[in-house]
């Protein structure tokens, strides 16, 4: 009647130079409520440049909520209240009057389910630059190509830029969404379980892409797939019930977690 | 049979009926209910909108006397009313002109015998807005020149020299109305009415239309003019003997010519003989038509006409 599970998660070797990097995000005593539901509790995290930071934790622990707070997408939910601060590049983005539209041009976001706009592939990529005032067709063409290349999908779609994005497969759609992000040349890319709706092959492609992107961008990725976190991230934060239980180098978390609950979670004892 | 007894009784009251409708109402009420008790039945009518105010008053007063008799009347215009009358759908049909030959023929074909009952007189009133300060009177010829379609837009200056060069706006009752028919007969003389005219069965449309513009002209029943005499200006008509304004006197005397006309309701004979309620209602109508016509702004017919009608109806019972 009891099940005993003992997982082994292998973490690939990674260069460690984290200490020398600057911070992009620092959350200090961040709290967030949905009405009375205290979804984030005193989060302190320091996220470094040009790294992949993974956020793991059981369902409902606040992963998505946290990552959404980083570009103030929680703004769209009227019941949300916050306290504490999130320092992005030296400024507290939670401050009143902070223009989150501006923030979001520097912080791209990729969602769980691919959500291209129901427009042509070209128009999907050009959307961001357009709303920010770029109208020159030539420049737009260049941006579209560069972004699609950056998202490693140029070759697959270059002949069908005018087709509706929904004619693509799920994996391709997700890379279009990543390309759409890249088009505004962000500084940080937030990804909320970007592969959970994809098949294994598409997942692999997106993971490879993340590894590639990390050279240019800081990436924060939520995942419920521990293997994925182990494979692609440099740092991992483990969330539980709205709290950060542990935040450390990825290999440390998976080989030798300091907290019992982290160990229980990564060994599959709950969640 | 009951109608017969009533007729004598009411004839008595008819002579000394007062103008005030309330007391008249009481008279009528005491008359019938004391002698006949309650009648039951249905009587359906339709027809002229000109006659409608009189008929409404009759139905309303009658309901106080015979609450169990269900009298209803639509307002479909004289022609529309006759259509239903010919189809056998109605027991009486109100008309603001005498029945036409074709209609009479159709009734004969349908096997419907009928009796013409006088209700009162109307002076077809030609009106303009009070803002119109140039029209003092119109001759019959001028009226015709105005209203007949000539193929060109007409201005007031076309009618009489010195009048403004503003296009005339025309408001006329619908072509199926007795009012139109009458006007058609005596003024247009079967020529086409101007095409720019607004034709409406809705008398208020006409009143509002004429009120709305100094260049407008319209015509309709005398009662509608009386209702709006504060805001409308009636145009005296010159039939060769000087301008005459429609008033009770000029209409009844026929001096207001040629636009003074009789109002009728046509009654199906078989309804009178077979439907006691219908007979009773029509008897009541004849007895009270004169007073009620005046009460709603028309002119009573000479008493002999009412008496003749009453005799005819009596003979049918």
């Amino acid at each position: 009647m009891t099940t005993t599970v003992k997982p082994k998660i292998q973490v690939p070797e990674k260069k460690k130079e984290s200490a020398s990097r600057g911070s992009v995000y620092q959350s200090n005593q961040l709290n967030l409520w949905y009405d009375t539901n205290h979804a984030l509790k005193n989060i302190d995290l320091d996220i470094k440049e040009n790294e992949v930071t993974a956020i793991i934790g059981p369902s409902g622990c606040g992963k998505s909520t946290y990552i959404k707070t980083l570009n103030r997408m929680t703004e769209t939910i009227p019941s949300v209240k916050t306290s504490g601060e999130i320092i992005y590049r030296g400024k507290n983005i939670l401050e009143k009057g902070y223009k989150f539209e501006e923030l979001r041009t520097k912080v791209g976001m990729v969602f769980q389910k691919p959500n291209p706009f129901p427009k042509s592939i070209y128009e999907n990529i050009a959307y961001g630059p357009r709303i920010h005032g770029i109208k020159n067709k030539k420049i737009l063409d260049q941006i579209v190509e560069k972004s699609l290349r950056g998202a490693a999908i140029w070759d697959e779609v270059k002949d069908r830029l005018n087709e509706n994005a929904y004619s693509l497969s799920g994996g391709q759609q997700q890379r279009i969404c990543i390309a759409r992000c890249l088009a505004i040349e962000p500084d940080v890319i937030l990804m909320d379980e970007p592969t959970s709706a994809l098949d294994p092959i598409s997942t692999l492609k997106v993971e490879e892409l993340v590894q590639e992107l990390k050279k240019e961008y800081s990436i924060i990725i939520v995942t419920h797939n521990m293997q994925q976190a182990a494979r692609i991230s440099d740092k991992t934060a483990f969330f539980l019930n709205g709290e950060v239980i542990e935040f450390d180098e990825t290999d440390k978390i998976f080989s030798n977690p300091s907290d019992k609950r982290t160990e229980d979670y990564i060994s599959g004892r709950f969640g | 049979a009951c109608g017969g007894e009533e007729e004598e009784a009411s004839n008595g009251t008819d002579g000394d009926a007062t103008d005030a409708e309330t007391s008249e109402n009481e008279d009528a009420a005491s008359d019938t209910s004391s002698e006949d008790g309650e009648l039951e039945g249905q009587v359906t009518g339709d027809g002229s909108s000109t006659v409608a105010p009189i008929m409404e008053a009759i139905v309303e007063e009658y309901a106080a006397v015979q609450p169990e008799v269900q009298v209803s009347s639509g307002v479909s215009g004289t022609g529309g009313g006759f259509e239903k009358f010919i189809a056998g759908e109605t027991a009486f049909s109100n008309a603001s002109r005498p029945i036409k030959e074709e209609e009479a023929a159709a009734l004969e074909e349908a096997g419907i015998e009928y009796t013409e009952v006088e209700l009162g007189f109307d002076g077809l009133s030609v009106v303009v807005s009070q803002e119109n300060d140039w029209v003092d009177h119109l001759t019959v010829e001028e009226l015709k020149a105005m209203w007949v379609e000539s193929g060109e837009e007409k201005t007031w200056a076309d009618i009489r020299e010195g009048w403004p060069e503003e296009p005339i706006e025309f408001y006329s009752p619908g072509t199926d109305s007795g009012t139109y028919d009458y006007f058609n007969e005596v003024i247009l003389e079967e020529e086409d009415i101007v095409r720019s005219a607004t034709l409406s069965e809705d008398d208020n449309v006409l009143v509002q239309g004429v009120l709305g513009s100094p260049n407008a002209i319209g015509y309709f029943g005398y009662a509608y003019y009386l209702e709006n005499q504060d805001t409308l200006k009636v145009v005296p008509i010159d039939n060769g003997e000087g301008p005459v304004e429609p008033t009770n006197e000029t209409i009844e005397s026929g001096e207001y010519a040629p636009l003074s006309r009789p109002l009728f309701t046509y009654v199906k004979n078989s309804s009178i003989s077979e439907n006691a309620a219908a007979a009773d209602f029509i008897t009541f109508a004849i007895e009270n038509a004169g007073d009620l016509a005046e009460a709603v702004g028309y002119v009573r017919a000479p008493q002999e006409l009412y008496d003749e009608d009453m005799e005819t109806i009596e003979s049918l019972k």
């Binding site: 539209e101 088009a183 | 008929m55 139905v59």
Partner: protein, 292 residues
């Protein structure tokens, strides 16, 4: 190479935000427009008609004298009309909806019926008036009766009721049907005892809204030519009658301005009826919204 100059983006943000604000106010103003029109309309009618609104207004018949005018015949006529329309339209509407949702196979006939219903919903009411006049009043010889008008109105609102009932039936979860079938119930037993009771709030809401449309419809009555001069209340569905909107129409046509105020009083009554019916519908909808 960088195409996006984040500094200029930042500069432009302000004007974009301003644009957003300005248009938001415009959208709000547009939304308020409808509400304001409604307020003006109600205000005008209430101020115009309240003078004539008294108990006698309900207990007297129409009269040639504005002060004596009332809506006894009209309001009773309207009520009788609804008493004819409600059962007929609901029987036909719910029956059709049950057929389409529960029995209809995917074939051409079904598809035709569906398309036909949505087209019927768009046929102008004045055309329904012609149908009623030609078929019910003349062809079937019903005359200008409550029955003739009631059948006409029933057909007029039939599509609305069908669609509402279809939605209500569709929203009954499949699990409930399965549970019933698993008890050995037949299809009809399941429909009668499980599906329809569960769908009733939705059906009622839709039907009340449809009836509130019917009670205010004027054009078909005008085309049928129902009388306005009558001083009695109907005693059977074959009686002739008049109805509230028809009476109002008649009053607005009168040359005497006082009758316009009487019409306004009639409109107050009609609008009150409508708002009560709407409120009942909204109440039922809210009360039974999520139950499974």
């Amino acid at each position: 190479m960088n195409y996006i100059d984040h500094e200029s983006v930042a500069k432009k943000t302000n004007s974009r935000l301003l644009k957003n604000k300005v248009l938001k106010s415009i959208f709000l103003a547009a939304t308020m427009f409808g509400l304001i029109v409604l307020a003006i309309l109600l205000y005008r009618i209430v101020t115009q008609g309240s003078e004539y609104l008294s108990l006698e207004f309900f207990t007297s018949f129409a009269s040639r004298i504005p002060e004596n005018s009332g809506i006894k015949a009209a309001i009773l006529g309207s009520i009788y009309l609804m008493l004819v329309v409600a059962p007929i339209s609901m029987f036909l509407g719910v029956g059709t909806a049950v057929y389409l949702e529960e029995y209809a196979k995917k074939n051409k006939l079904t598809n035709f019926i569906r398309i036909n219903i949505s087209n019927l919903a768009g046929v102008p009411s004045v055309v329904f008036g012609l149908l009623g006049l030609t078929i019910f009043a003349r062809f079937f010889g019903l005359g200008i009766s409550i029955l003739a008008a009631g059948l006409t109105m029933s057909l007029l609102i039939l599509p609305i009721i069908i669609v509402a009932a279809q939605e209500a039936i569709r929203s009954v979860p499949k699990e409930l049907r399965d549970a019933s079938y698993a008890m050995g119930a037949t299809k009809w037993q399941t429909i009668l005892r499980i599906v329809l009771p569960a769908a009733i709030p939705g059906i009622l809401t839709g039907s009340i809204l449809a009836l509130s449309r019917a009670i205010g419809e004027t054009a078909p009555l005008v085309v049928l030519g129902i009388p306005t001069i009558l001083m009695f209340t109907p005693d059977s569905i074959l009686s002739t009658f008049t109805a509230l909107p028809m009476q109002i129409f008649d009053w607005t046509k009168r040359p005497q301005v006082a009758f316009h105020d009487v019409a306004a009083a009639g409109i107050i009554v009609l609008m009150t009826l409508l708002i009560i019916m709407n409120s009942i519908a909204v109440f039922i909808r809210n009360k039974y919204q999520k139950r499974y």
